[in-house]
Symmetry: C2
Subunit: 227 residues, 2 copies
DNA sequence: TCGTCAAGTGACTGAAGGTCATTTGTTCGC
DNA sequence: GCGAACAAATGACCTTCAGTCACTTGACGA
């Protein structure tokens, strides 16, 4: 069972997390269990009671660490998103020569290849997660997002000489839009997948996330270059 | 009160809708009330009991017309989406000369200007609506979507000579992705709006839907033209 | 060793989607 | 017109699930 290692991790902790580091460990454990359940199903199918069960905690305990289900998933998104930004930073930093549009497009699209959970959560951000969260919980997320956007945007502007000032961050705005939209089309619900598979003529409605993102980004960047 | 006219419309119907046309009228009435509530709030805040109340019906009656809340909103999306496709068809048909990329971008973006409900629902399609709907309910929607996509795509290919075969429909796939993503960023939840307004330095995270969609589409089309 | 305190618990609550036995308006044959 | 028959409408009831809170108990310091 997938929870075994996590359960072990939990049992390695004292039954009561009194030190800050133990609290942080328990918090991460809850996030890990939520992620495992989310990867196997969908947001609606993840029950807070199941998250608690897998973490070998009572339901009420989970609510000590996260005030709402939405706050829990916002925290999860935060972890995944900024880990991705950090990895992208590395990819952009390791080769400081001038890049081409297609190369950037491929790099970005491929960096998101195994990040289904991240991109699915991104699609939930404004429609679901921001619905039941306080401004206090949201502010730090938005602050970090802006900082990451500006940082990565600046790096991109340095790599692609044809980009004007401010177009780096905007590139990420459009990327966010495309990722959100394409993930929704590519990662269809089981019912939708069933429909598409049963009717071969609907094949054009099926979308390969990485391929489509790569071409869309390439085209977008070519449009910026030819000005 | 907004429900007055709809309530009148309902009372003009017989108490029991036995003829198909009466059933259809009652169905539309329910959709109208759901739309009114959705425009004023959010998906999660629209309660089936409120929809029923505004339509002057018992809750159980609404479930005679739509098996689930998701099915109701899928039907609403269907109405709005294909009405939009029809209007776009007209816009594309009324001038058969060659168009430019920027003109198409503007036309499309402006045609979506007042369609907040449509674009918001589009963002919910795969993450929420397809979650609690049967394949039988989804199939006709997908069929119509494909047909509309091919039709509009073909028209677009005729207007823009630089488009290759098959790129018309793909343009609409990317449009769908951009609309979904940008709407989410532009039409933020009240909490998110509060955060962004309280912190002026977060201004870059605010997105003007129509403006951003226009530039993104223009850039995308310019990328296709300069090949 | 024991008192204190906060972490942890799980029965309980409220809210909302969805069901169904019953009621009642409508229609149609006479 | 009348009433039997049918199906549309009803709303009390059921279920599920996020979220709460009075109570329990493990950890740690004195």
């Amino acid at each position: 069972m997938a929870s075994t290692s996590a359960a072990k991790a939990n049992r390695a902790l004292p039954q009561r997390a009194r030190k800050d580091e133990d609290k942080e460990a328990r918090r991460q454990l809850i996030l890990n269990e939520a992620l495992a359940l989310y990867q196997a199903t969908s947001y609606a199918e993840v029950k807070m009671a199941d998250v608690a069960g897998r973490a070998m905690l009572a339901k009420g305990t989970v609510f000590l660490y996260f005030p709402t289900k939405e706050a829990l998933f916002l925290a999860l998104l935060e972890d995944l998103l900024f880990a991705w930004f950090a990895r992208l930073d590395e990819l952009l930093a390791e080769d400081t020569s001038a890049w081409t549009g297609p190369r950037l497009a491929r790099t970005v699209a491929e960096s998101l290849e195994g990040e289904e959970a991240l991109t699915r959560l991104l699609a939930l951000l404004q429609t679901v997660l921001e619905q039941n969260v306080t401004a206090e919980q949201l502010r730090p997320f938005k602050e970090r997002l802006l900082a990451a956007l500006v940082r990565a945007g600046t790096l991109v502007e340095q790599r692609l000489s044809f980009l004007h000032a401010g177009e780096g961050p905007r590139f990420f705005i459009h990327l966010h839009a495309l990722v959100t939209g394409l993930r929704q089309m590519a990662d269809v619900a089981p019912v939708a997948r069933e429909v598409l598979e049963a009717l071969p003529h609907l094949a054009p409605l099926r979308v390969d996330f990485t391929a489509e993102l790569t071409t869309a980004l390439s085209t977008l960047l070519r449009g910026l270059e030819s000005r």
